[in-house]
Symmetry: C2
Subunit: 450 residues, 2 copies
């Protein structure tokens, strides 16, 4: 499927070489792999082995491995442990934005220590990047960016581009700036190559282009890149001075991050729980939500307590209670997932929001009646009780309508007031279906069945 | 934030011009906007207005608008309605992969009609692409790809690249092929520009590169692109013949799609429900899951029926039942979300899978005991019943351990046998916590409290 991939045998051989402390075998084995494959291999190695391998690798490969390591493997801790000289070599090879991301995870005094050892220019670039919020365009951008002055000729520009590109892996669009580094537009390398030698860049520049300010939210940047099919987007300050660029690979990371947050929040897990974190972290992240849920469960059970006399005269109800509550909860989760995902991909107009709620009410009515009919038939045949069947039919239908209303309208309302709609987790939503489900079932039962 | 964006006033003006049938005003207004902005505007327009605008726009802009339209707006229906001549013009402007995606949504005879009107070369490209499965590399790739023969000199290659790039918006890496179109490697444009005029491409080619077969799953392609930070990836057949390439913007779409599928499946919604679909579609997608859930609810309620004598002697239990079941369901959903998301980002080794289950058991034990203690205190104070409190404490703890075991191990097992782990929706998982929760609570209660 691809020309190289780390297979099980290789992994075992590398582990064996580590165990035998056979440096030569290790070096030969590692040379075969791409840095991102070594980063994947790291997942199954101890911290000591990771450090060992980083020390063996040439600085440029080591830095690539470190930049490819998942944030959850804590590359900053690995960096911290290295010999200062090796560490500086590696950090200087890193792209500034990657170096900043990793270093920003360390405490202030450790950051300063690492920056002191770097050459002055690199240190100042990184220090500058450390001042931006992590989740903004400034925090995501790379300050290494190819730019040419609009007054250059084609020949001069090409030479300049090739000089600047020495340190960069890839470049696609060239930014055009004036004498005070203000962004005037972009030009494609293709257009430069195609033009006559005497042409000036200002004749080729495209001034109808997309850019972002440094404080733009990263999710917004991802949307723009994907909307306009750009491979990179320039970042400017308030006076249009060119600060850096964000490339599509940063955006892929942003999308994965935002999607993880959505799926966790909707399931009542705090968004910053690390997926591979240990049990302590998981308890810290989830226990608060469960305690909130316990509070809402007390609310639901107080409805049941209120109707205890009804239940004690008709114990059969308790079996149906769990059905009504369970079905309501699941139908609400369905409506919630569809609505949250829809909002997170597109903003809805008032009219679209209104029609979404209306649609969910219709869906609740139909799904409720369909399931209500099944339970009605069961009550009629198994419990031989027509009235009980009717009560359950209405409770099921009513609760699935409530599920539709809450599942759609709560995330929409949250979005309207500027709160992340995914926080309307299943925990919040099921409170409504539990409480109302029991109220309808037991309320009707105490009126009609006793 | 960016140099142009459709604001509310513009939208209103365009709508006004549509209403007044003022073609000139409409043309002037539309000229101001990027195709992707017009595609967004389309969301709030009727089908007639969309058709009207497409007919006014020049074919190249119209085709870009159509390729930017969300699949949920059904661009294929818009295309179907256009005058055949206009339609052919637009389809010929589309990238082959976009044209194929859109046309593939139509019934066979409509597809043939559209293809007949196209020029022979375009039609054969699209016919060829239509043979690949939608979710594979072949279904996603674009057959317009820049390639040079490895025997060309630098000068010849540059001319060739510029000639081939006339029809393409962007290109980053050049594919190198032999005389029978077999992919030999890649070369960056940068390396070509930097080299001497007499150098042959074969001296510059990088043969350590990533490629995919046409039948590779699109999710796998997305992983490779993001893992190796590539802006595009070549697609080959079994004999290494170059078929096309997949670019990062296709991959961003894939990621959004896969993430929507995950979040829907985990919430018990069928993965192909369109987020903005109507109620009929929503009922079709969700009712089957709710009926499955009803079946499992019958299972849970049969446990309750079995213990009816216990409940009728101790009605107070029914309030606690809903707490135990509700908390178990939510804790299971938490464990499920974290595990599913983790598996979808990375494959786990056996050892990691084992430790994941172990971690979730620990988390269940701690969160269960913490919540159990609260409910124990409540039962002691409010119901003055020590033994009842103990029973509830053990039921809560036990059920949250079961929540952890099922929430983590069911998706892991599904992954092991090759089924999408996200199918282990909250509906399946909560069955276990309902049934076991009631069994523990009512079983203990009938032994210890009566």
């Amino acid at each position: 499927m691809q020309s190289f991939e780390l297979n099980k045998t290789d992994t075992l051989r590398i582990k064996q070489a580590l165990e035998d402390e056979d440096e030569n075998a290790l070096k030969v084995l590692l040379e075969e792999y791409h840095a991102s494959e070594i980063a994947i291999l790291f997942e199954s190695l101890s911290e000591e082995s990771r450090e060992h391998i980083i020390n063996i690798l040439p600085a440029d490969v080591a830095s690539e491995v470190i930049s490819e390591m998942d944030a959850e493997m804590h590359p900053e801790k690995l960096l911290e442990k290295l010999h200062p000289e090796k560490r500086s070599e590696i950090v200087e090879e890193l792209d500034y934005d990657d170096a900043t991301d990793i270093i920003s995870q360390l405490p202030q005094e450790r950051q300063d220590e690492i920056l002191q050892d770097l050459d002055a220019e690199d240190a100042s670039h990184i220090r500058n990047l450390l001042t931006y919020e992590e989740d903004t365009a400034g925090g995501r951008m790379n300050t290494q960016v190819i730019k040419v002055n609009s007054s250059l000729t084609k020949k001069e520009a090409l030479d300049e581009i090739i000089r600047q590109s020495e340190e960069m892996e890839e470049f696609y669009t060239i930014n055009v700036v004036d004498n005070s580094n203000r962004l005037k537009g972009i030009v494609s390398l293709k257009d430069i190559i195609k033009s006559r030698n005497t042409v000036h860049i200002r004749e080729l520049v495209n001034d109808d282009f997309v850019y972002v300010k440094a404080n733009t939210d990263q999710e917004e940047v991802a949307k723009l890149l994907s909307q306009y099919n750009l491979s990179s987007i320039p970042v400017v300050d308030d006076d249009m001075h060119l600060l850096g660029r964000i490339t599509f690979d940063d955006v892929i990371d942003v999308l994965e991050e935002e999607n993880t947050e959505d799926i966790l929040k909707i399931s009542g897990v705090s968004e910053d729980e690390e997926l591979s974190g240990n049990w302590k972290e998981a308890v810290r992240s989830r226990l608060p939500w469960l305690i909130i849920n316990l509070g809402t469960a007390f609310l639901a059970s107080s409805v049941i307590r209120y109707f205890e006399p009804t239940i004690s005269r008709l114990v059969i109800l308790s079996g149906y209670m769990t059905m009504i509550a369970g079905m309501g909860g699941n139908a609400a989760t369905q409506a919630l997932a569809v609505t949250v995902r829809r909002i997170s991909l597109n903003d809805l107009t008032d009219n679209q929001a209104y029609r979404t709620v209306l649609k969910e009410i219709t869906v609740g009515l139909i799904n409720g009646a369909a399931n209500g009919l099944i339970v009605f038939a069961f009550a009629l045949i198994y419990d031989s009780n027509l009235m009980l069947g009717l009560v359950i039919f209405f409770a099921m239908t009513g609760n699935l309508v409530i599920a539709g209303i809450t599942g759609a309208s709560i995330p929409l309302l949250l979005k309207r007031v500027g709160i992340d709609p995914a926080i309307a987790s299943s925990i919040i939503i099921t409170t409504f279906t539990d409480v109302f489900g029991f109220l309808i079932l037991l309320g009707l039962a105490s009126r009609l069945l006793l």
